[in-house]
Amino acid sequence: MDTFINGVRRLSQACGIVAALLLAAAVVVVCEMVVIRYFLRASTIWQTEFVTYSLIAATFIGSPYVALIRGHVNVELLPVYLGGGMRLALALFAAISALLLAIVLGWTGYELLVEAWVGRWRTETVWALPLWIPYLPLPVGMALMALQYVADIICLATGRAQPFGLSEEAGR
């Protein structure tokens, strides 16, 4: 079981690195685009789409990592106030809800990906990028996030992790 949990953790961390690199790439390309448009007075072809799609990819691929480090902001008022068994129940409920969303979103994202692949959809721009490329990060990111939440649920159920990462005394 620990192998699974650690494996998922490593996968999520790898996602974090990919997302951070996508963000870095976006910054570089935005600056390159500014130089081309405003200093060289030329028009840009692929940059706008590349930057937008990189950040969409960073969002979906980065999601499992942000889930791992509890970076998806939540309202912890009730969990802090309740404590004990109720806190664990809420943490399980929250993690199962997140898992459910990851599955539903990942599945519909996969269907969209297949449609784009089969229909050979392309973006309506000069660049005409095949649409399955920007669609791909949604199902992939959500599948990995689902894994992360499965690991979280196991950790909660077996007492490996504290509910909401709160110490036992918090809020009492």
């Binding site: 976006a26 600056c31 950040l55």
Partner: protein
Amino acid sequence: MSALAIGGVVAIVTIAFLATGVPVAFGLALVSIGFLLYFEGTGSLSILAETFFGSLNDFTLVSIPMFILMGAAVASSPAGKDLYAALDRWLHRVPGGLIISNLGACAVFAALSGSSPATCAAIGKMGIPEMRQRGYPASLATGAIAAGGTLGILIPPSITMIVYGVATETSIGRLFIAGLMPGLMLTALFMAWSLYIAWRRGYSLRDMAASYTLRDKLEILPKVLPFLSIIAGILYVLYGGLATPSEAAGVGALFCIVLVAVIYRIRDLPTMARILRDSMRESVMILMIIAASALFSYMLSSLFVTQSVAEWIAGLDVNRWIVMAMINLFLLVAGFFLPPVAVILMTAPILLPIVEHAGFDAYWFAVVFTINMEIGLITPPVGLNLYVINGISPDVSLPTILRGALPFMLCMVLGIVLLCVFPGIATWLPDLLMGPGI
């Protein structure tokens, strides 16, 4: 069930669901999916992925991670400390100069970082001990920094304003300019209150000052002026319509990273990786909320909730100021519990048509909206700034910080009242620079 009743049920279910501690983004998405499934059947699921993807497929949104990166780069350096030191050295002769320096540094740093907690931490770490050492009471010192930090979401460039712009399809450049004077007004109100309280309690403001030579004053300038020129440059480019917010933000981010590397010699790989990682985490969190909120808005409007709430309020036939007061109260309460970005995305698309129908300006409303969100940052239960301050000065109790922050909250309420009486505080500058609004 009428659309209005559905709206009521949606509100209750959303609040209850978010209260369980589920991440805001996923909670909003699940509530939306649940209602769509119940009222429109499984066919409605087909739009799910497209809505999530489509809502983020907008070049304007690129400005959000870019500004976050810019803030993270600045926050990783001692720029906050230098900013504060520079103001203190220049203002030390002014009575109460230290507290003015702290609030001024908060305002400038807030503009650079666009983040309230980062501002509190950066200025507070040095400012709070210094103020206490020179005799200011703990409640005033901590309260002032907690309040000063909130300026980050109002003074441009502000991520909160970008999100408002995206949610309501208003001009981001104009929103930024609209936030400038109200931001300075709030800073001035905070300063006035601090000085008043220090004077009334009989603190000798002059005794609290230190003394500096001209050399001290000059040698710090090269460290702070480049950062100030970046903010000025971004505002100039945006109001002049020279470039899009995303381009300005991208170049601003690169400049800040370069400046931090040159001035503070922060160029080691681990620090750079940390800056990127922190920015990525924050961006992912915000962009996921944006995507989920798009689904939430889609659900509300496809169940006709948005339209019926607007019609209902328009049909109430009450004075428009009563409508505005009700909206303010609602925003204030929402801000107590939810992060500003979530409140804006969930409610701005519903509220703006109502507000505009009542004859208020969209940009003026953005400012009022944001000040309400600022108040939420320094009020329990989720007042982020209070906890940040508590973290950096652990010997000051949370109730003491809260007591110190309370008068500043009233300053913000006064700010809203002033904006209602003199809407020009928000609208004059954009009208002057960019021509009258539509």
